[in-house]
Symmetry: none
Subunit: 206 residues, 4 copies
DNA sequence: GATGAATGAGCTTTCATTCAT
DNA sequence: CATGAATGAAAGCTCATTCAT
């Protein structure tokens, strides 16, 4: 599944499908080899096209990578927003938080090379590429921060904790999973419940 | 300090000092540009030598990088072992754990390009380089696992938690700090105490 | 006018007009960028067609360029022949020569990208393209040589001068104008009269 | 001789000789194939080095070409200045002019790929490269203009002629020779004397 | 010990050209 | 007639690496 996800929806003309294949391949290579290690020829091989065909769809290597990095976070956000929207009206902030943790982890580990590509390369990509991604990250972070603040107001988590620092520690614990978690050896349900317990206890505290 | 740390001690002949400068520079470049993004010419510039001079000290680019990656973790372990050895005999596992968190964070953020280089590039480095680093990581992880298990036996943290998963979540929260924490804007003491509270509560749980 | 000239006449079906537009555009690009610098995509943009459409009218890039280079001189010759034919029967060789100078200059500077394309790229085009152009050039040169020899016989210009060398010096003075003369800043009538005086005196001599 | 000229003088260390060989080769290729047609691999073949070696001496293709274009005119000027300096004090402007014609032609035809490269590609090179060359051209043109004005003051040539236009016609006649004159078939002394007669008569006039 | 000089492999990118539609 | 899609070949350029000095 991890290798065949579709990014976004939309038309599926032959042209659109080729573009998608290139983008998917780039996400996978980026995720494995890193920004500087991504070679267009590897992307092309995976996408089953010749390397110059990439230039029919993207104006440069940077352009292609930018779109992967940007849509990695965008997709994560869309995913989360949809999940939160489905919750019944009276759901408590802490329950919403719990859902967010689950969605983030499942999307990162189960579905998306885009997410892992974004996460792993955030620190290595040149400034020009970084900017649009940062905008998306801020939007994504804002959703989490809102939930966290609501939980604080509701007294569900400690009030003395700095929201930004807390969020970053939580993201750290979650994002790092893609570095060590092996889908072949672990059960994702176990991971999700352990992570939830760790994080919620960490923030609820005594 | 972060840019001028010395890795290990030992002889300080001119030759040894040049070697150290090259290694330090490689750690810094590796930390910023990633494995594939490291260019020997950048390392040479930082170390103030000519690029071919690197070959006098290291037999190849891979060799140089391997040493950085490997000593990043080795250094972290030495650091931790020394700190733990200094603790009085009766120190509880949980207190030892608390000290470990503090040492890991301070070393990563304050002292060492080696540590961040190791952490950031663990997933992108080729297998050949990875192996020795993995051995070091296992040794380092074993120290943490011992403490954790002792704490579990002592009933200081929950017994239902899987030690390996817990450890990885903790490492995630800590390692990710190097991606977002800005020494210019935050106080490291605050970060350390927030991280300790988050992690210890997360594992103690209700 | 210089950018919209039509080369030759003939059928004006939509197809023929598109072909003409492509040829005109090629002449202009060739004139500005040179043989190796001509890109079909530039020609296509100027002609307002898609690049592959060019292949409907010309079997290759070389083919297209050959036609421009060849018709550049052909057109110059047709132009000159018409002008000479209009002269009254008794016109002296020297007067015919004077008319030739004027026609050549006006056509080159005022009317035709084809002429400048031919002139500027004569030395850089591959042999295969060159041949047909050389044939045209010889025919064109023959007209000039005839006039010059007649003038020599009539004693209107020096007899000791080598006709071929003289002709080449004259062509040089004229052809070079397209490299330096700026229609925005100079008056073409002034240029024509100065050039006539220079050339005719140069050949008449003392 | 044309293929083996040395450009400028100076040290002849091995390194300097390689640099010179690359520059000489570039001048020759530029002269034959034009700006867009110059391939570094052709230059490298002629210079008997591998293509990337060029980058040891020049930072880019443009850089290399700029130096050829610029030094083509610079060399021409140096050549001319030296010849004029050798003339006895009382030499008339017209005699100086005559010497200038001779030096220009001989240098262009006999000695220098640099000169022909500069002349042929002046119109096709991008603006960035052009600028430095234009400066040199102006300096070179100023020498000629000075002589011409002096001759006008001395009444040696017509007073009604525009100096700039005249100069351009003269340069045209001379520069064009490299397009048609074949050293195998013609005698350069004949060409020089014919050209002198043509130009001087052209400007002296009746 | 260290460097100037050079190379070979491999990268991104461009471009003429083809072909199914 | 014309175009969207794609390719093969080759270009400029970068970089790790070598080697004589």
């Amino acid at each position: 599944m991890a290798d065949t996800q579709e990014n976004g929806s939309g038309s599926d003309s032959k042209s659109a499908r080729t573009r998608r294949r290139i983008l998917d391949s780039a996400a996978q290579v980026l995720s494995n080899k890193g920004y500087a290690g991504l070679r267009l020829s590897d992307v092309a091989d995976l996408a089953e096209v010749q390397a110059p065909a990439i230039y029919y769809y993207f104006s440069s290597r940077e352009d292609l990578i930018e779109e992967v990095m940007w849509s990695g976070v965008a997709e994560l956000r869309k995913h989360l927003e949809e999940a939160l929207d489905k919750l019944p009206d009276g759901t408590t902030p802490l329950d919403r938080f719990s859902v967010a943790i689950e969605e983030h982890l499942r999307h990162e580990l189960d579905l998306s090379n885009y997410a892992t590509a974004s996460i792993r390369n955030a620190g290595q990509v040149p400034q020009a590429i970084r900017e649009r991604q940062v905008a998306e990250e801020n939007a994504y972070g804002a959703i989490w921060a809102d939930i966290l603040r609501a939980a604080q107001s509701a007294g569900e988590i400690r009030g003395d904790i700095d929201v930004h620092t807390a969020l970053m520690l939580v993201f750290g614990a979650m994002n790092w999973t893609s570095e060590w978690w092996d889908p072949e050896r672990g059960d994702i349900d176990d991971l999700v419940s352990t992570a939830k317990a760790f994080i919620l206890n960490g923030l609820a505290g005594s």
